[in-house]
């Protein structure tokens, strides 16, 4: 006896009224794409549910893991499929199923039968009590609880066969990617930005990403690390278009012309401007950053206010109210933490002031930026013109 199919549970998309079929279709498509590497599956919508049916031998663990990375899925129920729906065979099958899934029989249970095939000779209620009866006979340690059973054993009888399931493996929740437009993630090599991308993607948003590279002050290894992080995030989001901006000239222009303690904040403003320009080209509807209030000098309320001022698009900051440890917990869950902490120290640190301003005033920053007015237009355009774009999957 083995699992030949999975019943996919989804919650929120069931509430989207007439759009419901759009959401379901996208979810089916995302499941299909994600399972390509796991084997051959048919994905079908039936009676308001999605079923994933294995058409050939497949790896159970890999498949469950892949399904657990598809946003929109709330629960994954491994299903045993029985061809012979004769009642005797059904009885033997539920007995065998119970033994396979629950080695420890000291549990309460309830049988719930659905007959999609209304011509089946035995009514549901009768099936419930009969199947419950044979299970109690086979495993005397079991007991029945119809209100809050440990095990809800579901049997679904169809024309083509019967499905038996009870286990529910948690999915990632959220909404299917592609149901909510796309946004541009400012991806650094740190811990926070991959988490921020994950969190927004979870709400159905497709992800683009931008990375600011400053050779020779940041090394190719630092760049590779960002590519690796984008790849890890893409396990959840699907392929990510990663845009790599050569930021050295702008950084140097700021360094040479502006007050040193304001360098980081002015740099951040140009990063946002460039990210927004690329976002527009890519039809994104928002920016995503990993900022969290007060984490570093450039993320104080004052700094966020000054940085935000250059953007016209909404900027989403899903980590904004989280403590570092909360962000780390998510990074560990989505597997980006180990890569984020690799020590490819970027030499950008030589640009960072020992005492950066923590309460910048917008008027003052704009005055400082005016010092760049003669050169910055050209450098900004050059940064956009020399963009390198890779698709990471």
């Amino acid at each position: 006896m083995e699992y030949k199919a999975f019943m996919i549970k989804y919650a929120e998309i069931g509430t989207k009224g007439k759009n419901r079929y759009v959401f379901e279709d996208i979810l089916c498509k995302n499941i299909r794409t994600r399972l390509k590497k796991c084997g051959e599956f048919t994905i079908k919508k039936e009676y308001g549910r999605i079923y994933v049916v294995a058409e050939a031998a497949y790896d159970y663990e890999d498949t469950v893991k892949a399904l657990q990375s598809v946003f929109g899925i709330v629960g994954i129920c491994p299903v045993v499929m029985i061809e012979d729906t004769g009642f005797e065979n059904l009885k033997q099958s539920v007995i065998a199923y119970m033994d396979m899934c629950y080695p420890d029989k000291n549990k309460t249970f309830k049988v719930h039968t659905r007959r999609s095939d209304k011509t089946y000779p035995i009514p549901s209620m009768e099936m419930n009590s009969e199947l419950g009866h044979v299970l109690l006979e086979a495993y005397p340690q079991l007991s029945v609880d119809v209100h809050a059973p440990d095990i809800l054993l579901q049997v679904e009888v169809r024309q083509t066969g019967a499905y038996i399931y009870s286990l529910v493996i948690a999915g990632p929740g959220g909404l299917p990617i592609g149901t909510n437009g796309s946004a541009m993630l400012l991806l650094s090599g740190g811990i926070d930005s991959p988490v921020a991308g994950y969190m927004i993607a979870k709400r159905g948003v497709a992800i683009n990403a931008v990375y600011f590279h400053a050779p020779p002050y940041t090394s190719d290894r630092a760049k590779q690390k960002v590519v690796d992080l984008a790849r890890l995030v893409s396990a959840y989001t699907g392929p990510i278009r990663l845009h790599i901006v050569n930021f050295t000239d702008i950084q140097m222009a700021i360094y040479e012309n502006c007050p040193h303690e304001e360098l980081t904040i002015i740099m951040r403003r140009y990063m946002m401007k460039i990210a927004e320009a690329i976002a527009e080209q890519e039809d994104c509807l928002g920016l995503i950053t990993g900022e969290s209030i007060g984490q570093v000098a450039s993320q104080t309320m004052h700094s966020l206010y000054v940085t935000n001022e250059v953007c016209h698009m909404p900027v989403f900051r899903p980590c904004i109210g989280m403590d570092k440890q909360e962000i780390v917990d998510i990074a560990e869950k989505i597997d980006t933490y180990e890569t984020s902490i690799l020590p490819y120290e970027d030499c950008c640190t030589i640009f960072v002031a020992k005492h950066p301003v923590t309460k910048p005033r917008l008027a003052k920053i704009k005055e400082s930026e005016a010092l760049l007015s003669e050169i910055i237009g050209e450098l900004y355009q050059k940064a956009l013109d020399t963009l390198e774009t890779v698709t990471v999957r």
Binding site: P215, P216, Y217, T218, D220, E256, P343, C347, I350, V352
Partner: protein, 380 residues
């Protein structure tokens, strides 16, 4: 133009070495322990390689043990010798300029209860024989000193040290990390009082993953890797036949052409140092090894210069990388008393015989162009 000046990190594999290895991997792939013809054929490759390496060291085949590389050779020499001789004493002497593959096994031994004495070095990174003599005790069982330092190329007086050790305490063993000296200097361990000598294949145009340890059979040594009893029980595991054969051939070629090669290396090295030092704010820390130059560039973070050079096709190492990633290790630059400001401003250029004068001139010209640009951007 491309200039690979990182030959102390690793070298290219000689085409004839690669060809030999390919043949062994695809055609003569037998297991030397097999009793049939294919096994004997594989055994013959090992025998030949052992003889070639023994010849280069003026040693005998029974002195040679093949390992997975320099790190394993050093581990085996230090941990293997310490464990085998612990009844005779628990005292070990070494230097502050050793590679991590010596230093970390020594720290491990210290945790196991051995006592460690680290000698001072002078401003050129050279161990003073008087200091060693003073540190030697009756319970000293092991002394470990590298032949050539990997960061600055300091050449240690291992022959003098070897003589001294055996005069003062005939029971003590002398290990020399020869990973940067093999194929560059004539070091004959048996004749120089060296009991254990570590060699790494990929530093002299053999493959990565292969190394050797010269071990005086009188030196008691415990094996670290146990198993099927290959290599006279000293290092179990099916022999890496292609790696071993490649190492043997590379060793033969290195020593056949040693004088000619080192003459060329010195020419390259000296030209680079002379011309670089004509640039403003550049100073030389190099030792006497023919293939390693260490230069400090005041006011520039070494990693930034390294990446800027990489962009121009010039590949070098930042000398302090090891030390900065492992704060516990006292790097050689610190040990020779280099001022703090230069510790993070030092690059290593290391050469192989295929490097050219043109490459040197190109590197000097490129550094000359980069220095003023990079010096505009220093940490304020």
């Amino acid at each position: 133009m491309e200039a690979y000046f990182d030959n102390a990190a690793t070298t290219y594999v000689l085409p004839e070495v690669a060809a030999l290895m390919t043949r062994i991997m695809t055609e003569d792939y037998g297991n030397p322990s097999s009793k049939h013809k294919k096994g004997m054929q594989a055994e013959a490759y090992i025998k030949e390689a052992t003889e070639r390496l023994a010849t280069a060291l003026k040693a005998e085949p029974k002195h040679i043990i093949f390992t997975s590389g320099g790190t394993e050779s050093n581990n085996m020499a230090l941990i293997g010798a310490a464990m085998a001789n612990r009844r005779a004493g628990m005292h070990i002497i070494s230097t502050p300029i050793e590679h991590a593959s010596v230093y970390n096994p020594l720290l491990y031994l210290e945790k196991q209860g051995f006592e460690l004495t680290i000698l001072d070095v002078d401003e050129r990174g050279i161990v003073k024989p008087e200091a060693l003599e003073k540190a030697m005790r009756e319970d000293t069982i092991l002394v470990s000193v590298m032949a050539v330092n990997n960061e600055i190329g300091a050449v240690e007086p291992v022959e003098a040290l070897g003589r001294l050790i055996h005069e003062v305490n005939p029971g003590a063993l002398f290990h020399v990390d020869g990973i940067q000296s093999f194929g560059k200097l004539n070091i004959y361990p048996g004749r120089m009082g060296i009991d254990l000598y570590s060699v790494s294949g990929h530093k002299f145009h053999a493959a990565k993953g292969i190394g050797a340890l010269y071990a005086n059979p009188k030196a008691k040594l415990h094996p670290l890797i146990l198993g099927g009893g290959q290599q006279r029980d000293m290092r179990s595991g099916t022999e890496n036949v292609p790696g071993i054969a490649g190492l043997g051939l590379a060793a033969k070629l290195a020593y056949e052409n040693l004088d000619e090669n080192t003459k060329h290396l010195r020419l390259i090295k000296e030209r680079l140092i002379r011309k670089m030092c004509e640039l403003p704010g550049v100073t030389d820390n190099s030792g006497d090894a023919p293939h390693i130059a260490s230069l400090s560039f005041r006011g520039i973070k070494s990693e930034v210069l390294l990446h800027a050079l990489e962009d121009k096709g010039i590949y070098v190492s930042s000398g302090s990388a090891c030390a900065s990633n492992h704060p516990g290790i006292s790097g050689v630059l610190k040990a020779i008393g280099l001022e703090a400001e230069l510790l993070d401003a030092t690059l290593r250029f290391s050469f192989a015989e295929n490097n050219t004068v043109d490459q040197v001139d190109y590197a000097v010209q490129t550094v000359g162009e980069l220095l003023p640009v990079l010096r505009r951007f220093v940490r304020k």
